[in-house]
């Protein structure tokens, strides 16, 4: 970590939290890397938007959340689901289009759901999930529940009107929302500077009388702290806030390959960010401070690898949905509740 331990106010960060943080980042990284390995088999027949390089964000945020808190995400949502507590089996099975998938094979990797863990569905329309997230927060506010909603979106979603409409409403009604922008500088291959007049996303919070910060999205502890602030504010009735976290995706927009070979982005840029690998940063932090021993980290990795093996086997062994599923779930059965 580039900052001193004291800056983070580490007394509030227990050894367990730090280890959990590292373990979750590994979990996401290894899960995504396994997809990279398996994808060429062409058995996973859906587009995959990998979040390798961005693991600190989902991890740092979700460690502040309770099971019942809501998380809304986007097309790049594997990490958010894992960090919020989703099991690997239903996720992997969904990517394989199997009936045991979290969406029974009807969603694919862009449409993850885990109602028990507060994930009410994930939109692949850029910014499309943002209003819905605010709506879920409105529901908890009307019901006077002590629930926070975190909405993850990219710098691309910042271009969309839906964000502003939603932010204004959330602020107007002081809803318990955290708007979390993962600024990886690109929307597909289009750089932020080609799309935005002012590349200062967090500044726009002030236009909605809300709180905005810009942080290093590759520093899990910094993310954790910023999210803690915003989550606490939301929970205490202080309304929404906006966190912009700068980060970088290592792979291409979609699929398992790096995209610099295709000329999408400069290779130097990728190298720069790979040196700031969030998992490596965290690992060095906990090792250098003797928070954990090297062999413990090995055990963590081994256990995650075993879990991934199991999830892949589960997914591959599972059945495809029966063809009779084609026309089910279009409508909810009508039940007169009165």
């Amino acid at each position: 970590m580039k900052e001193d331990i004291l800056k983070y106010g580490l007394p509030t960060l227990t050894r367990k939290t730090l280890i959990d943080m590292y373990a979750m980042m590994c979990r996401i990284r290894m899960f995504e890397e396994r997809i990279v390995d398996l994808y060429p088999e062409q058995e996973m027949k859906c587009p995959v938007h990998l979040c390798i390089g961005q693991e600190a964000i989902a991890t740092g945020v979700c460690l502040n959340l309770r099971k019942e808190d809501y998380v809304f995400s986007n097309h790049r949502g594997h990490g958010h689901a894992l960090a919020k507590g989703s099991a690997m089996r239903p996720l992997m099975a969904e990517f394989y289009g199997k009936a045991t998938g979290c969406s029974r094979g009807k969603g694919g990797s862009m449409h993850i759901i885990d109602v028990e863990n507060g994930i009410l569905g994930t939109s692949a329309i850029v910014a499309g999930g943002i209003p819905m997230g605010v709506g879920a927060a409105l529901a908890s506010s009307i019901r006077k529940e002590d629930r926070v909603t975190v909405i993850f979106f990219g710098d691309g979603a910042y271009d969309e009107g839906a964000l502003y409409e939603s932010f204004n409403f959330a602020s107007l009604k002081k809803l318990p929302v955290v708007f979390f922008c993962e600024n990886n500088f690109y929307a597909t291959n289009s750089h932020q500077s080609a799309r935005q007049s002012a590349c200062r996303i967090s500044d726009s919070a002030s236009a909605f009388d809300s709180h905005g910060v810009c942080i290093d999205g590759n520093d899990a502890i910094e993310v954790y702290k910023a999210a803690q602030d915003s989550v606490n504010r939301a929970r205490k009735g202080g309304g929404p806030s906006l966190i912009e976290a700068k980060t970088y995706r290592w792979k291409g927009h979609v699929g398992p390959d790096a995209d610099y070979e295709k000329g999408c982005r400069p290779k130097e840029e990728l190298i720069y960010w790979m040196e700031r690998c969030p998992v490596k940063v965290m690992r060095e932090f906990i090792l250098s401070r003797n928070i954990v021993a090297e062999n413990e980290l090995k055990e963590i990795a081994a256990s995650i690898a075993g879990e991934i093996d199991d999830a892949v086997k589960f997914a591959k062994d599972s059945e495809y949905p029966p063809l009779s599923d084609l026309l089910t779930d279009v409508y909810a059965p009508v039940k007169e509740t009165l």
């Binding site: 879920a136 529901a139 839906a162």
Partner: protein, 348 residues
């Protein structure tokens, strides 16, 4: 049933009311208001949101005063952000509420098509039935007084094309109340399209809560020579046309469609099997409109019953003009419906 009867004008209704003192008369807008009030009263998950719903007008009277009774937490004015607020309502529905969202004009709905088509209509299917979207989207078709091209559209066909949505268009006060309740409890996204010219229409409306089933059309008038399937306000024009034609010896069966999606094809097919002739009177445009779908269904499943080619009465293929002279020419009514029936009868 007294409430299934359609009254073309106030005088006719008042006469009927004076003949049966047990029945209560209510205007369409007040039927909507009463239904909403009863829903808010009985169910804490119901809330209403829309632009200006708590103002003095109260959406042409249909939400008037509700905020005083139930508070602005449940009867909520909204920013002018149709797509965002539609998404907010959808998100609340997925999270367990039963929102009634009001877009004061059908013309404003296009701003929210992303949320309606990509989100509300898909959310259940896309997640394998793990969640549902119990939302009602109320909206009103405007007409007249130079409303012009952006304040008078009938866009129901945008929605009948989308699996996952239901579309209802009540024509009577009784149906307005009963269908609104059914829509709120349907558990699916329902696009609920009203017509401004129906707002003052009177009819019998029981004071207790009741539902009118979604997906069921109704025969408003029996007849043996031609079936007129009418939508929303056109039901009244069709009833008047049937009166005109009766004097000419042509007996029309008038079906009030009430629900456009899912379509009550059995009722229509049954009627066409008896009459052999089909005319559709819609409030909207012709191409790929509900009339096209109804004709296709009848041709697919009841071709043999048709004695002549079906006819359609729709708006001309142009946006709504403002000038009273052009506006008058723009809207078809009983005259055009009667002419269409005559053509159908003449053809065979």
């Amino acid at each position: 049933m007294p409430w299934t009867k359609v009254y073309s004008n106030k005088a006719e209704f008042e006469k009927a009311l004076s003949e049966n003192k047990d029945l209560r008369g209510l205007a369409y807008k007040d039927a909507l208001l009463e239904a909403t009030s009863q829903l808010l009263e009985a169910d804490e998950t119901v809330f209403v949101i829309g632009e200006g719903i708590d103002d003095a007008g109260g959406v042409f009277g249909s939400t008037r005063g509700l905020h005083l009774k139930f508070g602005r937490e449940r009867v909520m004015d909204s920013p002018l952000a149709e797509n965002g607020i539609t998404g907010v309502a959808i998100g609340a529905a997925v999270a367990g509420m039963r929102p009634i969202l009001v877009h004061m004009r059908v013309d404003f709905i296009p701003l929210s098509l992303d949320q309606i088509i990509n989100h509300a209509a898909k959310w259940r299917y896309m997640f394998g039935g793990k969640v549902s979207v119990p939302i009602v989207i109320r909206s009103m078709i405007g007409r007249g007084w130079g409303s012009a091209a952006q304040h008078s559209q009938s866009l129901q066909s945008l929605f009948t094309n989308i699996p996952g949505l239901k579309v209802v268009m009540p024509a009577t006060p009784y149906d307005a109340k009963g269908l609104l309740r059914a829509s709120v409890y349907d558990g699916n996204p329902v696009v609920f399209i009203e017509h401004r010219w129906l707002y003052e229409h009177m009819g019998h409306v029981p004071s207790e809560p009741y539902t009118v089933p979604i997906g069921k059309a109704i025969i408003r008038r029996k007849g043996s020579d031609a079936t007129i399937v009418a939508v929303s306000y056109m039901v009244y024009e069709a009833m008047s046309a049937a009166e005109i034609l009766k004097d000419e010896g042509i007996e029309c069966e008038v079906i009030d469609l009430r629900t456009l999606k899912p379509l009550d094809a059995p009722l229509i097919l049954g009627s066409v099997a008896r009459t052999g002739r089909l005319v559709i009177a819609d409030t909207g445009w012709k191409e790929t409109g509900i009339g096209a779908e109804i004709i296709a269904r009848v041709v697919e499943d009841g071709f043999g019953a048709l004695k002549s080619a079906p006819e359609r009465v729709n708006l001309p293929e142009a946006p709504t003009p403002a000038s009273p002279a052009l506006e008058k020419a723009y809207y078809p009514g009983k005259i055009e419906i009667a002419a269409a029936v005559r053509r159908a009868v003449k053809k065979g």
